[in-house]
């Protein structure tokens, strides 16, 4: 299971970085979403992987670490909100300038 989770994180990160390097708003935003998924799974796994164990006090003998789950919840909410914000700003920039390049183009932008 550790191998599966680790390779899933690696694959998501690699795909995310590839998409971010495409330098057009749509692939870049998708890439950032993939990166946030990767980091969410990574945070979840940072408390070690345990199967079928409760995170809160019960009469069980085996527990899973509850803190990473709380951290992941926070991270999911934040990344969700941030993605919504960046979609709106990118849409505004695209509709205004009719150009969805993320980088500065040499003919439209001074080199400084």
């Amino acid at each position: 299971m550790e191998l599966l989770v680790a390779s899933a994180i690696g694959l998501l990160t690699a795909a995310g970085i590839y998409l971010v390097l495409r330098l057009r708003t749509f692939p870049v935003i998708l890439g950032i979403s993939l990166l946030t998924y990767a980091v969410n799974v990574f945070l979840f796994a940072s408390g070690r992987l345990t199967i079928g164990a409760p995170p809160i006090l019960t009469d069980a003998t085996n527990y899973t670490d509850p803190l990473p789950q709380a951290l992941v919840l926070t991270a999911i909410v934040i990344s969700f909100g941030m993605t919504a914000v960046v979609v709106m700003i990118a849409l505004g920039a695209y509709l205004g300038a009719d150009d969805d390049h993320v980088d500065d183009r040499s003919e439209t932008e001074d080199a400084s």
Partner: protein
């Protein structure tokens, strides 16, 4: 336990929704509430600084849960001084935004401004790494709104770049936090400081990666080369009052580096030994050089100021990278100076824009209100370039003397001194083109002079710079005391971990 320590976070958190809900269509009420809030924040921050000035570490446990299980806020000399600096800067920026009517050019300026303050204050006060991440996000999401305030295609494009870069930074921050938690099982700073000493130096791969990831995140915030590319266009395109407030945001990165790499990963810690001295100092020296060359090469005044911010952050990081009490004390003195000088320069570049409608460094008809604007630019440029007699010169002397005894002394002295020369030439060129060559051309159309309140705000910042110079002795003594406190973190750790909270003692069964 008193609740004063959380007030700088709670106050803007309540004022912002109040402004949105109750004063949505009344810019006058928004302005009054916003300025009154910042004045109250200055009073609170001054009280906190006074409380921390004798070296006591104030602890605030949220919900009365004891650390490391609960989230804590910690006020020591460093964090309270940064809170006071932010509040004072915010007042002048707000006065300028009102005076120049920037706050009317888009919606929700004051609400976003208060949220931004909440994030910055929280980042300075928190004692928990994950909480630091959350406050970074609060200040970032408010800054996204402020950055594209008043709209415009160039600003939106720069805004997209700024948001995307910071989203990548946040992802990196979470990766760093995940690896720290996997290695140590805690994210409370004081608890971490104890646990990293228990890690076996033979098995330090994980914690080394985590420490490097974390410093990369803070380096993005502090705009250290090679992670500075987001800064010039974002700061140049942002509305001037926002750019001036952003002058404190690079310092949030510097603050986080000082805090984390003196408390959790100090330079003498075995498992991460060599990290700071190997990489941080060269990167800082290159930032200093690139920033000042950028000052010389810039073709517009706002880009010039943005590059001077990169250069001054390089200067701060050179002093921090020495990781000696003298170096940190010099860095803290320079942080106050560079925040005030950077903010003043951004506001002055907006005065120029108001007086001649663009910022190109070419000879054009005279700037409206040139006498006053030129005078302010002259003082602020002298401060930023580090010429005597202002605080930039004193800060630079402190950094040079802190670097005198190190092995890299030749590099530090050469680069700081030549970078200063380049920046002096850059500022002199910009000032003479804008204010002196102007008189050779006839004005084509009359442009109104900026309002008096704008000048009051900028003059206030310049007056603070002069006060920072006049009271340099007292300030440096205080920053030295801060550095001493940072390098003796036992009191901090003991205060955070040994203060009992709710359920600290096991309750008896009933």
């Amino acid at each position: 336990m008193t609740h004063w320590l959380i007030l700088p976070i709670i106050l803007p958190a309540f004022l912002a929704p109040f402004i949105v809900f109750a004063a949505r269509y009344h810019i006058g009420i928004q302005r009054v509430v916003s300025i009154a809030g910042v004045v109250a924040m200055i009073a609170t921050a001054a009280g906190l600084v006074w409380q921390a000035s004798d070296g006591t570490v104030t602890l605030y446990q949220l919900g009365d849960w004891a650390a490391p299980f609960g989230i804590v806020l910690v006020g020591d000399r460093l964090s309270t001084m940064m809170v006071l600096l932010t509040a004072v800067l915010a007042l002048f920026v707000l006065l300028y935004a009102v005076g120049s009517r920037w706050d009317e050019r888009g919606r929700h300026f004051h609400a976003l401004f208060q949220f931004q303050l909440m994030g910055i204050m929280g980042a300075f006060l928190t004692g928990d790494l994950f909480n630091l991440f959350v406050f970074f996000e609060v200040l970032l999401i408010a800054s996204y709104g402020l950055m594209i305030h008043a709209g415009g295609n160039a600003r939106l494009k720069a805004g997209v770049q700024y948001v995307l870069f910071n989203l990548l930074g946040s992802t990196l921050f979470l990766f760093a936090l995940g690896s720290i938690y996997a290695e140590t099982g805690t994210l409370n700073m004081a608890d971490l400081a104890q646990r990293v000493t228990l890690i076996d130096p033979a098995a330090s791969v994980g914690i080394r990666i985590a420490a490097v990831l974390l410093i990369l995140v803070f380096a993005i915030k502090a705009a250290i080369v090679p992670l500075h590319f987001w800064l010039p266009s974002s700061y140049a395109e942002a509305p001037a009052p926002v750019a001036a407030l952003f002058a404190i945001m690079t310092k949030v990165g510097a603050y986080a580096i000082i805090r984390v790499y003196t408390l959790i990963f100090p330079p003498d810690l075995e498992v991460t030994a060599g990290m700071q001295t190997m990489w941080l100092l060269p990167a800082a020296l290159i930032s200093l050089a690139i920033g000042m060359v950028g000052v010389l090469a810039a073709r517009k005044l706002d880009r010039l100021v943005a590059f001077s911010v990169i250069g001054s952050m390089g200067m701060v990081m050179v002093a921090i990278a020495l990781f000696t009490p003298a170096g940190i004390a010099a860095a803290l003195y320079y942080i106050v100076h560079s925040t005030l000088a950077g903010a003043a320069l951004f506001l002055i570049s907006d005065l120029v824009r108001a007086g001649r409608n663009n910022l190109d460094l070419t000879a054009q008809p005279p700037v409206a209100g040139a006498a006053m604007t030129a005078g302010l630019f002259f003082v602020a440029a002298i401060a930023m370039a580090g010429l005597p007699p202002l605080s930039g010169f004193i800060g630079k002397l402190l950094i040079l003397s802190a670097g005198f005894t190190t092995a890299q002394m030749a590099w530090i002295w050469t680069i700081i001194l030549s970078a200063s020369l380049i920046s002096v030439v850059g500022f002199a060129r910009a000032g003479s083109v804008i204010f002196w060559k102007a008189n050779s051309l006839e004005p084509t159309e009359a442009v109104a002079r900026p309002g008096n309140l704008s000048y009051v705000a900028v003059s206030g910042l310049v007056a603070l710079l002069i006060a920072h110079t006049v009271f340099a002795g007292q300030m440096h003594r205080y920053t030295t005391a801060m550095a001493v406190q940072l390098f003796a973190p036992d009191a901090y750790v003991a205060t955070v971990l040994d203060t009992p909270g709710k359920l600290s003692k096991p309750q008896e069964d009933h």
